[in-house]
């Protein structure tokens, strides 16, 4: 069970002077249950890449399979395969349109032909997942909510589709640190509670480093690095620099300790372990 991209190339504005290959010969397999972080500089092709995961873009060449089904074939099975991937775009609150929060979240499931009673439980579950109270918010118009709340409603609209794979493109863009932590906390909870596969696109290393168990670094339309976040941050810093992405501040700090002669393990990515590590090193020294 996986999403598989084989030799996928996508060219924008094909056959004009503005022609540009956004991604080149991408081979990638995202397995069920993974939490994949995709990072890269602006224009590295990460957004183009994720739009191939549910067939919103058709590759100029190459193939995409979801659970073994070629999604660009015609017919019911290909359509269902595409629907198993939920996609949250950048600034998803811009897609809200219904008169009430309830109706907006129900839009997706209704399109899939879900029964009304089932829709209500789905809306409840989705709102619960994004941390909004059903009684308080269901009847309100989405346009009078705060930016952070609107975004959560929009994400709930995708979660209500009950996808097997959840793709999020910069879900924290434009939110304050607290809103960001809340959104990420909720995504993490969902991943742990339901085992849903998550693909998270971001250009913020710190977020991805904390949550993902696999990291893909994109540069100029190609996959530069693919592996465990720890390994990438510790052993491939030169390549990260080349791709124009920053190493998380914590790794940077640990590196500096090391350079000053403190025997710490620079391969830590959460603050608690790092603090313990420094404490031990200082006591030893």
């Amino acid at each position: 069970m996986s999403i598989r991209l084989q030799d996928v190339t996508y060219i924008y504005m094909s056959k004009t002077p503005f022609e540009k290959a956004a991604i080149k010969k991408i081979d990638l397999e995202i397995k069920q249950g993974e939490f994949v972080g995709i990072i890269g500089h602006t224009g590295s092709g990460k957004s183009t890449l994720v739009q191939h995961l549910n067939g919103l873009l058709k590759p100029s060449s190459g193939m995409v399979h979801i659970d073994g089904q070629n999604i660009h074939e015609k017919g019911e099975t290909a359509r269902n395969a595409k629907r198993s991937v939920g996609m949250v775009f950048q600034y998803p609150e811009h897609q809200l349109f219904e008169e009430s929060v309830y109706e907006d979240i129900a839009f997706g499931p209704r399109n899939l032909g879900v029964k009304e009673e089932e829709i209500e439980t789905r809306v409840k579950k989705a709102l619960d997942f994004v941390g909004l109270d059903f009684e308080k918010f269901a009847k309100r118009t989405p346009f009078q909510l705060s930016g952070g709340q609107m975004r959560r409603v929009a994400i709930a609209g995708v979660v209500a589709l009950d996808p097997k794979y959840l793709v999020l493109d910069e879900p924290s863009a434009g939110l304050d640190p607290r809103g960001r932590d809340e959104i990420f906390g909720q995504i993490m909870n969902l991943h742990q509670a339901t085992g849903i596969t998550v693909v998270l696109v971001s250009h913020n290393m710190e977020d991805v480093a904390r949550m993902a168990n696999r990291l893909i670094v994109m540069n100029k339309g190609e996959i530069l690095l693919d592996g465990k976040p720890k390994d990438i941050f510790c052993n491939h810093q030169a390549q990260l620099k080349e791709a124009g992405v920053d190493v998380p501040p914590l790794t940077l700090l640990m590196n500096q300790f090391k350079q000053r002669g403190l025997e710490v393990d620079s391969a830590v990515i959460d603050i608690a372990t790092a603090a313990q590590n420094v404490y031990k090193a200082v006591r030893r020294g």
């Binding site: 739009q51 991937v85 775009f89 811009h94 897609q95 997706g108 399109n111 995708v158 589709l161």
Partner: protein, 267 residues
């Protein structure tokens, strides 16, 4: 995809035609288009065709692009040809039912069709070689004299510039919202007209909201930078008429002269 649409079909390049002042290009295009109507004989059409081929080559625009610009109008072109063939009185060469094709009709139809093709090609050459921004800039300068009679030249040009500037942005936005709703199972392509119109709501509502938001933000940003219309406004890139432009007018003058001469002597 929607974002693949070329805006105003500008084809970047560095040819002599690209480098001409937009005012020169606008005026020359108008003059040349009017002079197309001077042509009435085969010789005149040959001269016109030769000149058009010459400027296409000069602009280094691929012929396929030129043909593509004719595509949206081919129905009108064919219709013009047929109407002229069948409605012009003269010696009949072929009859289908009540319709009769005449020799004069064929000649007239061919001439009119070629005229139409020339018109389209020449005007699209203007947009091929001039970026939309340069074009509005040129229009603004050309309309300047009419300010005295109350024509808001600057404001008109600014509106055009903003509209042009936001076409790609709104297309991108449409594309994005469409994809987002499609990812939620929305269907924009099937069903009858009524159903399809209703299916557009999830696209149109967010699009309008975002267009108004952008307009509001842009207005605020412009006011924050003390924009107050064209009064005493200076520009970074002043348009300038150079030798090139006079040369272009010269060549155009010669062509029009020749066309006038051909018309007088062929009578």
């Amino acid at each position: 995809m929607l974002t693949d649409i070329m805006l105003g079909q500008y084809f970047p390049g560095n040819s002599l035609l690209h480098l001409l002042d937009p005012r020169t290009k606008i005026i020359s295009t108008i003059l040349f288009i009017s002079s197309i109507f001077l042509a009435e004989t085969y010789q005149a059409y040959i001269i016109l065709a030769a000149f058009i081929v010459f400027i296409i080559a000069l602009a280094a625009i691929p012929p396929t692009m030129i043909l593509r610009s004719l595509k949206p109008l081919w129905i009108i072109i064919v219709l013009t040809l047929l109407i002229h063939i069948f409605t012009t009185p003269g010696s009949i060469i072929y009859k289908i039912g009540p319709l009769a094709a005449t020799q004069e009709g064929v000649r007239q139809g061919l001439f009119m069709t070629i005229r139409l093709v020339f018109l389209i090609v020449v005007s699209s050459l203007l947009t091929f070689t001039t970026s939309p921004i340069a074009l509005t800039d040129g229009i603004e300068r050309l309309l300047n004299p009419f300010k005295k009679i109350g024509l808001p030249a600057h404001e008109l040009a600014m509106m055009m510039t903003i509209a042009l500037r936001f076409i790609p942005t709104l297309l991108e936005e449409t594309d994005k919202i469409m994809k987002a709703q499609m990812a939620r199972g929305a269907d924009f392509t099937s069903g009858n007209i009524l159903r399809r119109a209703r299916n557009m709501i999830p696209l149109l509502v967010p699009l309008f909201i975002s267009a108004f938001r952008r307009a509001d933000e842009l207005a605020t940003a412009m006011e924050a930078r003390c924009y107050r219309g064209g009064h005493q406004r200076t520009r970074m890139k002043e348009l300038q008429i150079t030798t090139r432009d006079w040369l272009a007018y010269g060549v155009l003058g010669i062509i029009i002269g020749v066309l006038v001469a051909v018309r007088i002597y062929s009578k």
